[in-house]
Every structure is written in C-alpha cells, then in structure tokens.
Homo-oligomer: 553 residues x 2
Amino acid sequence: MGMSPKRLVVVGGVAGGASAAARARRLCENCQIIIFERGPHVSFANCGLPYFVGGEIAEQDELLVQTPGSLKTRFNLDVRVNTEVLSIDRQARRVKVRESSGREYEEHYDALVLSTGASPLKPPIPGIDRQNHFTVRNIPDVEKIMNWSRGCERCRAVVVGGGYIGLEMAEQLRHRNFRVTVVEALPQVMAPLDPEMAAWLHAELRANNVDLHLNDPVAAFEAPTAAEPARASIVVLKSGRRLPADSVILGLGVKPEVGLAKNAGLEIGQRGGIRVNEHLQTNDPRIWAVGDAIEVRDVVTGQWSLIPLAGPANRQGRIVADNIFGRPRRYDGTLGTAILRLFKLSAGCTGANEKCLQKAGRAYHALHLHPNSHAGYYPGAEPIALKILFAPDTGRLLGAQAVGRDGVDKRIDVLATALKAGMTMNDLAELELAYAPPYGSAKDPVNLAGMAAQNVLAGDVRLAHWHELPVGDAVLLDVRRADERAQSFIPGSVHIPLDQLRFRLNELPRDKEIIVHCLSGQRSYYACRVLSQYGFRCRNLTGSYRTWQAVKS
Amino acid sequence: MGMSPKRLVVVGGVAGGASAAARARRLCENCQIIIFERGPHVSFANCGLPYFVGGEIAEQDELLVQTPGSLKTRFNLDVRVNTEVLSIDRQARRVKVRESSGREYEEHYDALVLSTGASPLKPPIPGIDRQNHFTVRNIPDVEKIMNWSRGCERCRAVVVGGGYIGLEMAEQLRHRNFRVTVVEALPQVMAPLDPEMAAWLHAELRANNVDLHLNDPVAAFEAPTAAEPARASIVVLKSGRRLPADSVILGLGVKPEVGLAKNAGLEIGQRGGIRVNEHLQTNDPRIWAVGDAIEVRDVVTGQWSLIPLAGPANRQGRIVADNIFGRPRRYDGTLGTAILRLFKLSAGCTGANEKCLQKAGRAYHALHLHPNSHAGYYPGAEPIALKILFAPDTGRLLGAQAVGRDGVDKRIDVLATALKAGMTMNDLAELELAYAPPYGSAKDPVNLAGMAAQNVLAGDVRLAHWHELPVGDAVLLDVRRADERAQSFIPGSVHIPLDQLRFRLNELPRDKEIIVHCLSGQRSYYACRVLSQYGFRCRNLTGSYRTWQAVKS
C-alpha cells in the first residue's frame, strides 16, 4: 500500500495475528491496533498443550506467552478477547463484532489481518460428540482434559488419529500411566513421513505399551453397555474391534477457518484455505491473511497446500506487518519442516516425501542411510534413520526425513536450510559442519547423504529399495559379518562377508542381477563397487537390513 | 589427469590420506594403492585422544577406526606403517622410503597424495622438552600421558595453550580429578571466538576449578627445587608467577609438515602450508595434497589460511581421489566451522570472527542475542549466547559464534550451511526450522538473528556494543523490570522499565544519545523503536546486560 494506515484490525490473537500486531507497533507507534480474539486467551503456546496435559509443563500460566494486559503495556495493543468478528463490510472497511455479553458493534479499519486459524476436524462419525471426547486446540480444551483426568487412575484413553497431536497426546497420557490406544485409519501414523520411516514410530509406540491399530478407521462411537467397562464410549472400528474408552482424544487434523473470509467474498483456494498472493494479501488489497487459515505454496512441488505450522504463521505475521507499512516483503512458500518427539525417538521431516513426489509426478531418487548421531568411537552414538529425496537431473535436494534417538533435529534443520537454499547433493557432500566427538563425525550424516547421492548421480551404483523385496529372480547377497548374520537375516539371501568378496566372486552368477545388502548400506555399496568393476550386474539395497527390519517388524 | 593411474602412492595414513586411498579403491579396483605411514597407526581418531585420556573412551582400540589389516581386507590397500617417506624424485616419479628397521627402498607412483599432516608447535622456550611434558597428537602421545597419569593421585597438570586441545585436555584431566591450570599467552582462550564470547569459557573453566592464567605467556620451564612440590617442572610465567607441575600438556597449536614437499621443490605458501590449486593439486600435476599440511582459501575473506580440521581433511581426501581418477571436483575453501565441549558448555563458530574481519578490512555489523535453546515454556530451555556478523551492504552472513549449554551445535550447523549457501540475513529470518517445544521455538534463534539483523539493515535500530561501555556523555538506559534491576545493574545506568516507558518519556533528554539495554537486547530493541518514533536519538546495546556481564566477570 505504501501508506501508513491509521487503524489496523487483526482478527485472531494467536501466533500470526499476535506477531503481526506486535511488529506493526514497532513500525508505527501512533497507529491504533486492535486485536479481536474469539477465545479467552491470546498468544498462547498451542504446541505446548499436550505437555501441559502430561505434566511436563507444570503451570497453565506457562502456556500464556502473552496476555491482553501484557500486550497492552508492552506494545500498546488494544486486545479484545471473547469477542468474535461476525462479518466484514469491505466496502465500508468495517468489521462487525460480538462480545460474549451479546453486545454487537462495528469497528473501522484501514488494514485488516485475518489470522482466524483452523479448527479440529470432526467427521460425521456417529457418536463423535459424546461426553469425554476431547479435541486439543486451545487452553479450554486442555482444561477439560485435565478435569477429566484428575479423577482417573489407569484410565483408558483412545486417541483417534496418529498425527502430531494424537501421538504427542499418546506419549503424554502414557507418562501419566494411563492406558492408551491409538487408532489410525491409514496403514501408518504421521502422514508427513513415508511408510518405512513411520515404521520406527510404530515400534516405539508398541515398546511403550501403546496399543496401536492401523488401517482401521473408526466406524462409530457407541454408548458403553453395562458389561463394557468404559465411562465415555466404545470406539467401534471398521474391522469390528470394540475399544472401551474412558475418554477419546480426537486428533484428526484441522481445517482452515474461512467462514468470515468466504462470507466477505474473499477468494478461497481449492484446498479450502484463504488464497493470498506472495505478499500474503487477499484479493482485497486492504485485507491480508496469515497462518493456518491460508493456503501456501509448497516450495518443492509448487502446489497450493494447507500446512498448519506455528513457525510459518509467526513469520507470516511479521511479513504482513511489513507489507502493510510499506515495506514490501514476500513469503516464499512453506517447506513443511516439522518434528515430533515420541518417547525416546525424534522424527522430523522437511520438504517433499516420496508419496508427494509420486502424486506430483516428479522424478526422484530415494536414499536411505543409518549413520551415527556422532563419532562411533565416542560413547552414546545412536543410529539415525535418514531418508533423502533428490532430483535425478539436477541433483537438487527435494526432501528429507529422519528418525532416531539423538541428533535428528540438527540434521533436519541443516537439511531444511539446504533445501531453502536450493542446494544440490554435491553441496551437501561439501557442507562444513561442526565436528567434535560428542557432536558429530568428520563426515557428518548430511555429508554422507550427499556423498552417497553423488555415487548414484555419477552412475557408480544403482539402488534397490525395501519395497522391491523379495527380489524375485535376482540374487540377494548379504555382505555382513558372520556374527551379524547369525543373529538374523533376510529370508532367501546368500551370504559372503564383504572382506571375503574378492576371493569368492566365482560363487556369484554373472547372468542374474545381484541385490547387495549389509546392515545400513555402506558396506554393500563397497561390495557393489567391487562387483561392478568385475563385470557383475548389481544394485545396493539402500538402507539395507535396518530399513527392511523396520518395515517388517 | 583424465587417465587412470596404475599406481597411487599416499603419504600419511590418517584422515585425508586414508580417505583418498579408500575412495580411490572404489574408483579403481585394479590399481595398486600404497599408503606409507611414518607412525604405527593409520586412520585413528585424532579428535578422540583427549577423551581417551579422560576415560570417556575406555579402550585404546576404539580410537583405531581402521587398521592396516582392515584396510587390506576391506579395500585391498597396501598399508606400510612405521615407514617414512624420505624424498620424492618428481622426475622419475619415485619416492624413497625408510622402514623402522632402517631398510630403505624406492617405489614408483603415477599419482602421489601428500597427507603429511601437522606437528605440534614447540616454541624455543627454555626447558620445553623436559620430562613429563606431553603433546597430544597421536596414540603414542596419549599412551605416554596415560602411563604418567596412572601413578598419580590429584596430580597437578599445567596446560599451556587455551585452544581446542588444551581446553579438552583441561576438561578431561579435571574429570579424572587432577588439579589443572591453564596458561594462555593471549588475553582470551579459543582464538576462533571473539573475546566477549570466549569470556563464557573463562567463567566455565573457573566454575570447574581450573586455575586460569590469561595474558601471561610461559617464560621458562624450570627444574623444581627441593622446596617446590612438582615432579616435572616449574612453569614460570612472564608475570613471574611460578606454577609447580607434575606434568605439562603442550597445546600451542600445530604447524604443517611440509619438509617432504619443500625438499621436492613443491610450492609452499606464505602461511607455511603446501600450496594447492582448486583441485587440490600442487604445482606438480602428478602430486596432490590434503589436510593439515595444506593452505586453504578462507571462504569469507578469500585469504590463504591454515585451518587444520578433520572434516575438511576427510572431504579433501575424497575430492583428490575423484580428481586423480578423472572426475574433476573442486574444493571450495574452508569456513573453519568448529566446536568445543567444555564441561557443560558448548562453544562453536563458523566463518569469520570480528578480529578477522577487522584485520581483513571488511565492513560488518556485529549482533549479539541470547535466545533460548527451545521454547521458554517447556522445561530445560537454556540461553544461547549467539554472535552474528554480517555485511552492511548485501546483508550476507559473514560468521557466527555460539556458546551455551544446549542447542549450540545445531545452530552453528544451520549457520554453517547458510554461510556455505551465501545466505543473507533476510534468508535467515525466513528459514523454516523444525519446531516442537523440546527442540526449538516458533522463531528459532537463527530466525531471531535474521530478524534482528533486518532491523539493523532497514535502519530501524542502531546498535551499541559492549566495548563502548562506559558510554561517556550518552545516557545508559536500563529497561528491565524492577526485580531484575534489584539484583544487579550496569554502573551509571538509569532505570525505566519498558512497560512504563511510554509514560515516562519526559524523564529522558532529547539532546543526548540514549543507549538502551535490557537483559538480552530484545526489550531494549522495543524501547528503541518507541524512543526513535518519539524523536529520541538512541542505540540498542546488542547482547545487553548478559554480554556485558560475561565480559566483566
């Protein structure tokens, strides 16, 4: 706009809305800035809610990053909680609001920011609104859960949906020693991960005594009969299984709250979010929108997407304020970088996964590694299951996923930075990361990923994948040591330890493809280099035994 | 070269040399590859040596990443340990070697890789070679230290030099409950850090009962008299202080081992390392060089530098093998990314520091922040002292330093990746890093650094620096809360809490500059925005009370 609006109105006082308002004040000391918030709280720590339920965050006040009072004294913001914006009159540039008392009034704006967020999905499953069914979206939600749980000993909670909120709640309820079941309609939890990566989470849930039902959607929530020991519902799955529940946590995802925008005639995208341009401006140049309510460009696929994450929302708020006050700034899209802690595991991802790339019709290579979180010779190193997706033509990084007990967040953040920079796998091989034995290795996992990809791109090795097993007519060759093989092996494989390979080449056929594996894929790569140079046709099973075992178990 | 050499000879079997040889085998199964190693071990974990002394790494064998035998069976490498290369006949393409038995012979090469490493600096200080004076460079060195230390209870070790090795040794010897003194000639330890960042390490050393003498070089190592309770030496400092020592650890840095190269007429750079081109080739096209022995381009300043680090050495080895076998690859220079663990602190850096930039005559802004390692509302968050250097014209990142108890390695790796990618501070503000409460914040420390820099670049705030205190004619304004001020404050400051600032502007002068500080610099930035918009002249004390306190204590 170039001009300085006299009055900025923000709808929604969490994350993006609060960020926009606070930044606006720093750019314009004498503007009037009003935040309307439907709920009782502004700027609360949405992402902390499960940890409050689990007791890791002890006091509810800790969730309140700001209050209406603190925003007033610090930023001179006029925050009006428990006040719903009913409609926007774009012609007159006025919003109509209703207080909890029922009083309605209008306010004029020069610029309007919509940060209306998203609301929990509640599909029309019979009985979904029964008592002690909870969503986890705001502080009143968790107050209800706390009230329920205080009266419970070893209560049974059924978590419906294996996404971030569902799994975090499962973990936190287990911390409180509740009996926890997770029910997921898809064959895997955590849709942002590919199935072989999600498999690690399945094992972790089961190891922590979470009852897990995959590929089995909820058919109905029924009232318990006298014979069924449940205080809330019987969760009936499509398979017919009946799960007694003292409470049900609904973690089925969220949908953008676009009613206000839609009724005002603002453009809504195909994915159901508010459509904005690169300056986060709606089709009304006086109205901007941020956060979970908007569609964003997926950086890798270029497609409009709904990616409800706190980080992007906060940054969008700041960008919108800059744009409103005459400092043009672009929002360049979202990578979808995210992370979950699940008991002792961390699972993170950034960019596109294999499922997305297939859907988008994009060519890619997929690479699995299991490097140590730090130097193997220093105590406490843990393997990281690392998946890297990259473009066969340019070698550009397209996406990454990592699961492990240590060092996952660091590698995902490095890869997210590389992705943002448009780096290639050559660049990853040449990253210069901080090495001392407690922190990493002279060749960091990210370097190793780059080097392994260089080998693929140079044609030095071809890859086979876990989903190609069993290998049919090919020979599956295990090059691990004898003691490793003695513990367990992939059925149908033949065994020649790597260190004997050069002397036993005559045991291998020259008329068949040889798929080589070891524990993680590194020794089998060495084996492939030997075999190729002696004229054998071979491929390296990427991720090798570890990835195969994760999927099979 | 384009051709495939028949015989590759590698001088030096650690890090870069071992990497080059192993990679060479994968590219050429039927070449002859010979490694000559002067010492008894190849491919050992140099960076793990202090942790073996301290007992964190229990077994010496764990330091042996590879052995001559394992390199033979796995990679068919001909490894000849205890064999010194005496000279290179470049004309005949032969090296002359001597075994420990005294036998001398020659070997022909088609390509030669020099990975001769670096040796500990031993300046001509009287008595420097006395008994129980140790360097920490290889396994025989630490064997000597272990032999000495086994007979000791509460022995006194004097560590000379406060670099990586010196400080790691100080920590590890304290773990074994020895009495430890660190002596440093400069006014600070850890030269890669700027002084106000090194100050955190000084405090950590003292908190862990390490006796620290800064700015006081060793004048002599004297024999103890009967009255002086020391078994090795009396370390006499320039100040006259006499430190009794049962052993002395010499951590004075290293110098590249270039004798072989020099005698063969290969070009040596001004910094005393072997000079190589971007393909890591010496001025003899048949001879390549890698690792601590070479000079590399500092990526930020463009200057030739000696940066002896394991990560670059390993990657250089791989690049050299690729180049030798006809796959042209460039080494793009070194950032100097490094990290130190010192008791509970981690201290990391990447790129240029302020001292370097001044020396190179480069313009820069320096920014200090103290963000939390993860969301403040989730338990266990620790502040990170973060210093960022960036270019005033382009906004490009030039360097970063971080010290703290948690999350330092992650932020340094993200910043090292950003630096490698040539990112600007705008890019840092827009990085999309993984956020969940145990790992980070919706605005990660790196984002916050980017945003704070944007404010500087946009002219929204001007910075003041710790070294400008006391502020002379200006007013130093403390905007912290009353309870924070009650604990301690910077002498000469006046106090108006941020939340009262808008109502107490009349207490501030309009004819003087106002330097504003809070605890970390965020609230004082808010204060500056208020003051600027009301027409006051002000600057924000970057890093604020925390940085000032670190330096003063």
